[in-house]
C-alpha cells in the first residue's frame, strides 16, 4: 500500500503567497472605499447608490461588503464557445487558453513585409491563419481595418474573422449601439438570444481609464454585456510610472481596485453574469515613454492576476505572445516565448494579444504562427513527464539490454507521438541539409507558410444565410448612422 502519494503533473508556480494576495486585496478595497471611482454614467451611479455606495456628484465610494458580494456572485467558470461548438473555452482556475488581441492600426503586409495601414483583407486573413493554428484557441480582429466606416468597424471585424474561423471570438465594441449589433449578429449564429446567453460565442474587452475613471461609453458596454450574458472584462490598462504608481504593488492595487469597482457595477446590473478579471498592467519605458508589452514587470503583474483570480475564484484575463519589436526578429521570438510561457505558469485563463508586434501597434500574421509554435512547446511542457510502469518501460530496457536500440520497438512506435512534440516551423535540420533547403531562418519559413494558407483557403465557413443576415444587420446600422448623422465618436 502506497500512502501520501503526491503527484505533480506540471509545475507549481507561485509568485506571491496567499498572504500577499490578501494584502493586495485589502489595499484595493481601501482605494475603493477611501478614494472611490468617478463614474460618468447615471444608471451605474444609481445602481451603486441604491446598493449602499457613498455617491457624491459622480464619485462613488464603494464599501468593502459590496465588493465582496460581487466577488461571491460572479461565476467561477465562464465559457465562450466557437461557432464550431467543440471549440469551447472553459475559463476557470488554471485552465489556460491563448488567442489574439484586437485593433492594431498597422499591419505587416504578408507579401512585401512592409508595415502599412491595416485593411479589412488583413482581418479576413487573420481568420484564415488562426483557423490553421491549433495552438491558438480563440480569435480576435488583431487589426483595425482602416478602409471601412470606423463607427461600426467592430461589426466588419466580427464578420470578417468568422468568415474563415470558427473559434471563439474576442472583441472590442465601438459603443453600446455597436455592441447591440454584435449581439444581434451572434444571436443569428447561435439561434436566438437565450441560446447566446446560455452559450456565449464572444467576449468583450471593456476597460476603465486609469486612474479611477469610468467613461460613460465603457460603463454602458459593460452593463449591456451583463444584461445579455456576454462575458466581459473590466481590465485596467494601467501603466506603472505613468497612470499608476511606479512601484508594482501599488500599481496592481490600483488596477485591481478599478477592476473590482467594475465588477460591482456588472454584478449589480445582473447578478451572476460572466465576468473576466484582469489588469493589463504595463510599465512606461522611461527612455521612450512607450508602454511596453513584454517587460519582466508586465509578466509578473499578469502572473499575479492569475493568482488573484484563483484567490477570488473568478476567471482571469492574461496577455502574452506579444512583443515590443516592430518585426518578427530574435527579440519577437524571445518575448513571445517569455510572455506566453509565464502566462501558462501564472494560469491566466484568457491570454490575449498573441500576434501583437510594435508594443501594441502592429499586427502580423507570421507572429500568430510563431506564437502557435511557442504554445506548442508550452503545451507539451505543461503535460510534464508522466511516471508510471508504462513510461518507465523497465521490461523494454531489460529486453533491449546492452548495446541494442529502441527506435524499431513497438513501444517507441506506440508512444512517440504522445511523448514528443513535433515542431511545426522551428528548425532542427543540421547545417548541411538546412543549407540545401535554402538556408531559411524561421521567419522566412513562416512567411511562406502564411502565404500558402491565405491563398489556399477560399470557402467561407459561414453559411449563406448567416452572411446575408450579418450583412443586413451591418446595413441597418449603416443606415442608422447616416440618418442620425452620428459624428465619429
Amino acid at each position: 500500500m502506497l500512502t501520501n502519494q503526491k503527484v505533480n503533473s506540471g509545475p507549481n508556480f507561485e509568485l506571491w503567497s496567499e498572504e500577499q494576495l490578501h494584502e493586495l486585496h485589502l489595499a484595493s478595497l481601501k482605494i475603493l472605499e477611501n478614494t472611490g471611482v468617478v463614474v460618468h454614467d447615471a444608471e451605474a451611479l444609481k445602481l451603486l447608490k441604491d446598493a449602499g455606495a457613498f455617491v457624491e456628484e459622480n464619485v462613488a465610494k464603494i464599501p468593502a461588503h459590496m465588493v465582496e458580494d460581487a466577488i461571491k456572485s460572479a461565476p467561477s467558470r465562464v465559457t465562450i464557445t466557437g461557432l464550431d461548438e467543440k471549440k469551447q473555452l472553459n475559463l476557470y482556475r488554471n485552465n489556460v487558453y491563448y488567442g489574439l488581441g484586437t485593433d492594431l492600426p498597422s499591419f505587416t503586409d504578408p507579401y512585401t513585409g512592409k508595415i502599412r495601414e491595416t485593411v479589412l483583407d488583413d482581418v479576413i486573413n487573420v481568420g484564415k491563419v488562426t483557423q490553421a493554428c491549433d495552438n491558438i484557441d480563440f480569435i480576435a480582429s488583431l487589426g483595425l481595418a482602416s478602409d471601412v466606416d470606423q463607427r461600426m468597424v467592430d461589426l466588419y471585424h466580427l464578420k470578417s474573422v468568422r468568415m474563415h474561423c470558427d473559434k471563439p471570438n474576442w472583441t472590442t465594441a465601438v459603443d453600446a449601439d455597436s455592441l447591440k449589433a454584435l449581439i444581434d449578429m451572434s444571436a443569428v449564429s447561435a439561434g436566438g438570444y437565450e441560446e447566446l446567453r446560455r452559450n456565449p460565442t464572444f467576449g468583450v474587452y471593456n476597460e476603465p481609464i486609469s486612474p479611477l475613471v469610468y467613461s460613460e461609453e465603457a460603463v454602458q458596454k459593460l452593463m449591456m454585456c451583463a444584461e445579455y450574458g456576454i462575458p466581459s472584462t473590466w481590465a485596467s490598462g494601467i501603466i506603472a510610472g505613468a497612470t499608476g504608481p511606479v512601484t508594482l504593488a501599488g500599481c496592481l492595487a490600483l488596477g485591481n481596485a478599478e477592476g473590482l469597482g467594475g465588477l460591482v457595477i456588472h454584478q449589480l446590473k445582473r447578478k451572476g453574469s460572466p465576468f473576466i478579471l484582469g489588469i493589463v498592467m504595463s510599465i512606461m519605458d522611461m527612455m521612450t515613454t512607450v508602454s511596453s508589452y513584454a517587460s519582466p514587470e508586465f509578466i509578473m503583474a499578469h502572473a499575479i492576476v492569475g493568482q488573484l483570480g484563483r484567490f477570488y475564484d473568478i476567471p482571469t484575463y492574461g496577455t502574452g505572445g506579444c512583443s515590443d519589436s516592430n518585426v518578427l526578429d530574435a527579440q519577437a521570438g524571445m518575448e513571445a516565448a517569455f510572455t506566453n510561457f509565464t502566462a501558462a505558469l501564472g494560469g491566466t485563463n484568457l491570454t490575449h494579444d498573441n500576434g501583437y508586434l510594435g508594443a501594441g501597434l502592429i499586427g502580423s500574421l507570421s507572429m500568430i504562427m510563431l506564437d502557435d509554435e511557442v504554445n506548442g512547446y508550452i503545451k507539451r511542457f505543461m503535460r510534464s513527464v508522466e511516471i508510471n510502469s508504462d513510461t518507465l518501460a523497465l521490461d523494454l530496457i531489460h529486453e533491449v539490454g546492452h548495446g541494442g536500440e529502441f527506435v524499431s520497438k513497438t513501444h517507441t512506435f506506440q508512444n512517440f507521438r504522445k511523448e514528443l512534440y513535433m515542431p511545426k516551423h522551428a528548425n532542427r535540420k543540421q547545417y548541411q541539409s538546412w543549407r540545401m533547403d535554402g538556408s531559411k531562418p524561421i521567419d522566412k519559413v513562416i512567411d511562406e507558410r502564411v502565404i500558402e494558407i491565405i491563398e489556399s483557403v477560399k470557402e467561407p465557413l459561414l453559411s449563406a444565410h448567416e452572411i446575408q443576415m450579418y450583412d443586413e444587420i451591418i446595413g441597418e446600422r449603416e443606415a442608422k448612422i447616416k440618418v442620425e448623422g452620428l459624428s465619429y465618436v
Binding site: 463607427r151 511606479v246 521612450t288 515613454t289 465619429y488 465618436v489
Partner: protein, 210 residues
C-alpha cells in the same frame, strides 16, 4: 561662465530643487541680472539634462524633476524680467482631440515643454476644434499641439487645422501633432509637424520658435 551660473546649473543637473531656489535668490541679492541667471544657469542646466536624456544617462522622471527645479528658479526671476526678456519662449496650447480620452502621453509632452522653458496651457482631453482655436487666439500662442491615439479621432486634427486657417491663425502658429497611430506623412498632409515622442517634440518646438 560665472560662478553662480555654474552652481545653479549643477543644482538643476543634480535635481536639487531647494538649492535652485536658494541660489537664485542669492544671485539676485548679489546683483546678478535676472536674464543672466536664466541664460547662464537655468537654461544651461536644462540643456545638459536634455543631452544626458538623449544619451540614455537620464530618464523621464529625472528630466521632469529637473524641469521642476528649473521652474523653481524661473518663478523667482520671471516678475523681474523686463521687456523682450519677459516673453520667454512663448505659449504652447496643448490638448487631446475631440472624442479621444488618451491623456498621459500629451501630459508628458506638456511637462517636457515646461521644462524647455515654454508656457504651457493644457486643455485636457476631448478638446473640440473651436476650443483650440479660441485658446490660441486668446493667448497669442506660438505653438498649438494636438494629441490623438485613435484612428477614429485623427481627423479631428485636420478639422482643427482647417478651423485655424479659417480664423486666420494658421500662419501665426506652429501646429504640432503626436500620438500612436500618426505618421509623418499624415502630419505633413494636414500641414502639421509630427513628433514620435516627447523628446523629439521639444526639438521640434525649439525649431519652430527659433
Amino acid at each position: 561662465m560665472s560662478l553662480f551660473g555654474n552652481e545653479i546649473k549643477e543644482a538643476i543637473i543634480s535635481l536639487d530643487i531647494a538649492s535652485v531656489g536658494q541660489l537664485t535668490n542669492k544671485a539676485l541679492a548679489d546683483g546678478v541680472k535676472p536674464k543672466q541667471i536664466l541664460d547662464d544657469g537655468l537654461l544651461i542646466g536644462m540643456a545638459v539634462v536634455g543631452e544626458r536624456f538623449k544619451r540614455s544617462e537620464m530618464f523621464v522622471p529625472e528630466v521632469l524633476m529637473a524641469a521642476k527645479a528649473m521652474t523653481e528658479g524661473l518663478n523667482i526671476i520671471k516678475p523681474l524680467l523686463a521687456g523682450e526678456d519677459a516673453k520667454g519662449k512663448g505659449t504652447v496650447v496643448l490638448g487631446t482631440v475631440k472624442g479621444d480620452l488618451h491623456d498621459i502621453g500629451k501630459r508628458i509632452v506638456a511637462m517636457m515643454f515646461e521644462g524647455a522653458g515654454f508656457d504651457v496651457i493644457d486643455l485636457g482631453y476631448d478638446v473640440k476644434p473651436e476650443e483650440f482655436v479660441s485658446k490660441v487666439k486668446e493667448t497669442n500662442a506660438c505653438i498649438v499641439g494636438m494629441s490623438a491615439m485613435l484612428t477614429t479621432t485623427m481627423m479631428q486634427m485636420k478639422i482643427t487645422v482647417d478651423a485655424l486657417k479659417e480664423a486666420g491663425l494658421y500662419d501665426k502658429v506652429g501646429v504640432m501633432v503626436g500620438g500612436a497611430p500618426l505618421t509623418v506623412e499624415y502630419a505633413e498632409g494636414i500641414g502639421a509637424k509630427y513628433s514620435p515622442d516627447a523628446q523629439v517634440a521639444v526639438e521640434v518646438a525649439n525649431n519652430i520658435v527659433q
